[in-house]
Every structure is written in structure tokens, then in C-alpha cells.
Amino acid sequence: MKLAEIVDRLALEVRAGANQVAEREVTGGYACDLLSYVMARAKEGNLWLTVQGHPNIVAVASLVNLAGIVVTEGARIEPATVEKADQEGVPLLATPLTSYQLAGRLYDLGVK
């Protein structure tokens, strides 16, 4: 499923990497706040759900080649994170939902 469709259907706010949203294909999802876990276990093309807002998340997403990052629960995203995500072309999205709630909705959309 295209990231743009997910953004649209789940009303995610696009905070950075907007020009990448239309093209990215989401192959699955991964939810975790331990960056070392995400580095080791998330798969290329996954959409990553986390409450972390530190610039390190952009480095992890770019390392694993994730489809994008959703910062959940309206957690604070540092300005440097937004800037870095734009530079690196990593879609950075935001939602007030918890990771649990958003994962459930993604599952319902068929992202498994």
C-alpha cells in the first residue's frame, strides 16, 4: 500500500519528507521505542511507530530504509529531527493516537 493512502485514511500529519510520501510503498509495520531493536529487527519498507522524537530516529530510518516514521501520542518532535528528515527524504508523520491504536488501524487497512 502506498504511504500517501495511509496518510490520507488515518489523517496523519506530514511533518517532513512530504515529497517522498506519494511514492513510498509500505510493506509492513514495526512499533518499538528502542532504536537498537528497530535497527536490528525492522524490515526495509516498514512504517515505524514510535514516541521518540530525537534526530537519531531519522538515522535509523535511513539505515534500515524504512518507508517512514510515525511519531505517535503527539510526542514532541525536535526541530533538528524535522530538518534532518527533510534533508534525508525520510517521511516523518505525526498522530495523536497511541502506537497501539495506530497499529490496530494499520492492521485494519491491510498493513500486516
Partner: protein
């Protein structure tokens, strides 16, 4: 990381890659002050000011195989997330010192983890010597008495061990087994205190 020992192992490996011949690792648990301080000091080639300034940037790495380096950035984020600090000082040709502090009781502070296992695997795989000190200060003494916090310490130095072993290698099966026991008992002796 689920355990701080993984960050420590990563820092030790950085020192090794910097050509250090001696690495000093100090784990200082100061319970009265509620601080945990981890210091890794090496005598490797060090970094110039420009490299040092970028050492905590995840989009900086000296590695040629990929362009992202997260070892130091993750260690720094872990410390800062636990009400702590992270600092690196370095001098080209002299060495590098990394210091990470944590609020000891912080809920999100990962446990130290398997220090004995981490040290053993590093010591057996590394070409450099390791001086390790694990210090733990517990509650201050009874009020009115002239005694400060009780301090327990486990210290270990591969140079001393090698001097005693002479020609026998650290990786000799019998030595390895003895080292494993020494490290495990040294660490366990400390945990019994707190």
C-alpha cells in the same frame, strides 16, 4: 539498548579501532548522589576538534561501508534521556575519554546488564589491555557517626594478569574459565551490597 553493557562494549570497540593499547573503564555507582557514571578512557590516536564535534552526529561515520553511525549517538541519547550527561574529550595522538552519566534511579535507565560477560568477550577478542574499576557507594553511615558512604570496589587489570601468566595466553581454556569465574564473582560481590 536494553542493557548499558552493550553501549559500553561499543565504546570499548571504538577505543580498540582507534589503536589504543590500554583502555580504562570505570563504572561508578554513587547511590547517595543517585548517579551512575561510566567512563571509557583510551590512549588511542584521538580526534581533532572537527571530528570530535561530529562524533555525536548520527550522520557522521568514519566507516566506508555505510554512511550512518549510531553507536555514540545512541549512548548519548540514553544518558540524556535519564537525566544525565554525555561528554567526549579527545586530543590527537593522546587519546579519547568518554563520560556518560545517568540518574541511577531513573525509570528508563537500562540495567548495566552482563558486565562480566561483556568484559570477558572484549578481553579475549581485543589486542589492548583493559583496566576495569566497578565502584559502588551505598547509603551514608549512621548520622552522628564519622563515617561516609560505604564504598565497595571490584578492580581488574589485564596487565597484572598477563604479568602473572607469563607465556600463557589469556585465551587458554583453563585461563579463560578462571577469568570468567573471577569476573562473575567480582561483579556478583558488588550486587550483594546494594
Amino acid at each position: 539498548m536494553r542493557e548499558l553493557s552493550l553501549h559500553i562494549l561499543d565504546a570499548l570497540q571504538n577505543s580498540l579501532e582507534a589503536g589504543a593499547t590500554v583502555v580504562e573503564l570505570v563504572v561508578d555507582e554513587d547511590l547517595p548522589a543517585d548517579r551512575l557514571t561510566i567512563t571509557v578512557r583510551d590512549n588511542g590516536r584521538g580526534m581533532d576538534a572537527a571530528t570530535l564535534a561530529r562524533a555525536t552526529d548520527p550522520f557522521f561515520t568514519t566507516r566506508q561501508t555505510r554512511r550512518v553511525g549510531l553507536g555514540i549517538p545512541l549512548f548519548k541519547a540514553a544518558a540524556e534521556h535519564c537525566n544525565g550527561d554525555f561528554a567526549i574529550t579527545s586530543e590527537p595522538g593522546k587519546g579519547t575519554t568518554l563520560t556518560a552519566t545517568f540518574q541511577h534511579s531513573h525509570l528508563d535507565r537500562a540495567p548495566l546488564g552482563d558486565m562480566a560477560g561483556t568484559l570477558l568477550s572484549f578481553i579475549l577478542g581485543a589486542t589492548c589491555d583493559v583496566h576495569y574499576v566497578h565502584r559502588r557507594a551505598t547509603g551514608a553511615g549512621e548520622t552522628g557517626e564519622d563515617n561516609g558512604p560505604e564504598v565497595q570496589e571490584f578492580e581488574f587489570d589485564t596487565r597484572e594478569i598477563k604479568a602473572e601468566l607469563g607465556d600463557v595466553s589469556l585465551s587458554h581454556p583453563a585461563v579463560r574459565e578462571w577469568l570468567q569465574k573471577l569476573l562473575a564473582e567480582g561483579e556478583a560481590g558488588l550486587s550483594a551490597v546494594g
